[in-house]
């Protein structure tokens, strides 16, 4: 009796995760890429993308979530994104100006996707850092939860 109830619950959660995970991924990447044009930015979009990891865990369990998302790669790419942000901030010094200077802000018209110079690149770096960091944190905490129950 109890097993049947769990099965029905699983189907509902699985279909919901299948339906909402792609929407969350696409909305998060849109918010990251359009940070300099519309409300939002790197932090918010990164957390939206990381919510897809939660949905995969809820629908398919911890083992499948760690199979689809490589945990070690997430940890490494977070530090790579931190280095990326520092590099884009150091571009000002390479162009003989001060730190965090927006050196090539006039590459396109205001309103284009590739306009506003280093703001776009820094936004992307912060979004990448937040999505990998929060996803890694969520998977780590859910692993502890899984062990406790077993």
């Amino acid at each position: 009796m109890s097993k049947k109830e769990i099965k029905v619950k699983n189907y509902i959660i699985k279909t919901a995760a299948d339906f909402f995970a792609p929407i969350g991924l696409i909305l998060g990447i849109y918010v990251i890429l359009h940070g300099h044009l519309s409300p939002g930015g790197g932090f918010q979009g990164g957390v939206l993308v990381a919510s897809a990891a939660v949905l995969i865990y809820l629908g398919y369990g911890y083992e499948k979530a760690t199979k689809t998302l490589n945990v070690n790669l997430l940890k490494k790419s977070e530090s790579i994104a931190a280095l990326m942000y520092s590099f884009f901030a150091l571009l000002g010094i390479f162009y003989a100006a001060n730190f965090c200077r927006n050196v090539f802000y006039n590459v396109g018209k205001p309103g284009d996707l590739f306009s506003s110079g280093t703001i776009f690149l820094m936004n992307f770096a912060v979004g990448y850092k937040v999505l990998t960091g929060i996803g890694f944190l969520i998977l780590l905490m859910f692993g502890l939860l899984n062990n406790e129950e077993a």
């Binding site: 977070e78 901030a89 927006n102």
Partner: protein
């Protein structure tokens, strides 16, 4: 050798810091509040003229599109005018995640040993 390098770098930092502080003290202050009439602002805030207020905030509000070509003014401030702030914020997140890794790794190891 290590000690010498450490002291040398600290002295270089101190000398450059003193030089920059001396240089910056000659610059005009960005906002000293001399042009703000506080009583007038308190009595009728809707009619108060804000066009000639001095300071960095005025530049940030009025010249974001000319200076950064970014339409979203909040992103322009966070990633351009206040780039240092965002750097610190992202490294705070990095430190928090490293701390949780250190704590939760020990917990995970203990749980795995108990299961075996």
């Amino acid at each position: 050798m290590k000690k010498f390098l450490a002291y040398f770098s600290i002295t270089v930092f101190l000398i450059i810091g003193c030089y920059v502080a001396k240089d910056m003290s000659k610059l005009p202050s960005t906002f000293d509040g001399t042009k703000v009439n506080v009583v007038d602002l308190y009595n009728n805030p809707e009619k108060y003229e804000t066009n000639d207020a001095d300071g960095v905030a005025n530049i940030m509000v009025k010249e974001t599109i000319d200076k950064t070509h970014a339409i979203n003014a909040v992103t322009a401030i966070v990633f351009d005018f206040r780039g240092y702030d965002t750097l610190g914020e992202s490294f705070v997140l990095f430190t928090a995640i490293s701390g949780t890794v250190v704590i939760l790794r020990n917990a995970l190891k203990g749980r795995a040993d108990k299961d075996e």
